[in-house]
Symmetry: C2
Subunit: 243 residues, 2 copies
C-alpha cells in the first residue's frame, strides 16, 4: 500500500483530499522543574474551564501557524515566568488520536529547569493560576499530562546523571552539601558525603569562591559556582559527566 504523500509519482498539490491531512493542531507543553532546597517541584496551572475544569495541567499552548515549536515554548515560558534563556530540552511528542477533546492535537512536550528564586510570575499572565507543586503531591491531571509528567521526570533523572544540568536548579552560588541534597532528592538515593565531594571536585567543573555560606548554625561551608566554560572545554576533549 502506498499513500499520496510518499508516492513519488503523485503530485500532492493536485489532490484536494490532501486537505484532510492538514487538519491537525500542534501544541507545546512544558514541564517546568524547580527546586527550593528541600523538594523538587513542578510548575502547574489550574484549569478554569471545561474540559478538565479545576484539574492541574502542564502549561502549554497551541503553536501559531508561522511559529516554530521552540519559539512557542519560549513564549509560554516567558508568559508564565517572565524569564528568558531557560534550559529547554525537547522531551517527546504525544500524538494519541483521542488525547484532546477539541480536535486532533499533537503536543510536543518539552521540559525545562529553573531556579525557583528566579521565578517571577507576571500578574497579567497565567501567574495567578500557577503554583509550584512538589512532585509527590500531584493530583489527577488534565488530558494525558500525567503521562507527560512521568516521562519528563524519568528523563530528568537520567539527564541529570549524564549532563551537568542540575546546576540550573540551584542558585548560582551553592555549597557542595546543597548540590548533594539536590541529587539525593532528585534521584531518591543517598550518597556518601566525603566521596560525593571528591567525585564532584575531581571533575574540575566547580569554581570555588572566596565566600562562605552565612547565617548558618554551625561551621559554614564554602560556596562554589558551576563553570560552564570549563565544562565546554573538557567536553571537547572527550570528558563525559557522569554521576
Amino acid at each position: 500500500m502506498q499513500t499520496l504523500f510518499t508516492n513519488p509519482k503523485v503530485d500532492p498539490s493536485q489532490h484536494p483530499d490532501l486537505n484532510q491531512y492538514f487538519a491537525f493542531g500542534i501544541s507545546v507543553d512544558c514541564v517546568v522543574f524547580g527546586y527550593d532546597g528541600v523538594d523538587v517541584k513542578v510548575l502547574l496551572i489550574k484549569r478554569g474551564t471545561e474540559p478538565f475544569l479545576e484539574y492541574q495541567a502542564i502549561p502549554g499552548d497551541l503553536v501559531h501557524p508561522k511559529e516554530d515549536a521552540v519559539t512557542a515554548t519560549q513564549r509560554v515560558l516567558k508568559d508564565l515566568t517572565g524569564l528568558q534563556n531557560i534550559y529547554l530540552e525537547q522531551l517527546q511528542t504525544f500524538a494519541g488520536v483521542d488525547r484532546h477533546p477539541l480536535g486532533r492535537v499533537a503536543t510536543i512536550a518539552y521540559f525545562s529547569l529553573l531556579r525557583i528564586e528566579d521565578y517571577n510570575p507576571k500578574p497579567s499572565s497565567w501567574a495567578t493560576d500557577a503554583q509550584w507543586t512538589p512532585i509527590q503531591q500531584l493530583g489527577e491531571m488534565a488530558f494525558d499530562h500525567k503521562e507527560i509528567f512521568d516521562v519528563a521526570l524519568e528523563r530528568l533523572q537520567r539527564r541529570v546523571r549524564h549532563k551537568p544540568v542540575g546546576f540550573e536548579l540551584l542558585p548560582t552560588e551553592f555549597t557542595l552539601t546543597d548540590l548533594q541534597h539536590l541529587y539525593e532528592t532528585l534521584l531518591n538515593t543517598q550518597f556518601d558525603k566525603a566521596n560525593f565531594r571528591k567525585k564532584i571536585l575531581a571533575m574540575g567543573l566547580l569554581l570555588p569562591l572566596d565566600k562562605m555560606r552565612k547565617a548558618v548554625r554551625y561551621r559554614p561551608a564554602r560556596l562554589y559556582k558551576f563553570d560552564p566554560n570549563r565544562y565546554e572545554a573538557l567536553s571537547n576533549r572527550g570528558f563525559l559527566f557522569e554521576l
Copy 2:
C-alpha cells in the same frame, strides 16, 4: 500575553479563528539502521518527483486523521520492508516553519534497527526505490532529512552504549567478534579483544550455543544469542547495561 487556547476563561469552540490553528500536517519519518557485517547502513528512498527530485530521503508518510504516530510509523515500515515488530524508538520532532514546501508539516522522527538479512522489499511498494546506504556515503538529502539523520545517528550511538539494542542489528546467532566489530564501527573506536569478551560475558546476557561458526578459514568461534528474558530479569534487579 495570553492566547485563546490557554486562557481558561475562553471557550475555544466559540472562536472561528481557531481554525487557523488546525491547519498543520503531521508526518512520521523513520531512520532505519542496518548492519551487514561490515558497514552500518541506513535505508533511504530516492525521490522521483519535485520537490527534491532525485534526492535521497528518509522514508516517511503523512499521519492519517485517525491514526496515531506509532501506528503510522509501523505502517511505513511494513510497507517498506514487509516486517513487523521491529525495534522502534521516538527520536525527536522537527517542526521548523519552512521545512516543507507543501505546507506546514511537523514531522515526528523515529529510528529503528533491523537485521539486514531480514529485509525483504515488497515489490508493490517503495522497495524499488529503497537502498541500503553506508552512513559515510550520504549525499544531499531532501527537506531537513540530513539533520534528522544526524540526530538519529547520535542517538543510536548513545543508545547502543546504555541499552542492549545492538543485537537488533545482528543475526540472531553471532560470535563475540561479530559483536565487537559492530560496536567498533558503530562507535568508531577500537576495543581490546580479550577485555571486550570479558565485559560482555560478565553481564550474563548472552546464551552460549552448542554451535560454531562454519566455513571460516581458521579456528571457528562459538555462536551466542542474546537472551531478552535474562535482560528483563536483571533490569528489574537494577542492572544497567553499559559499554
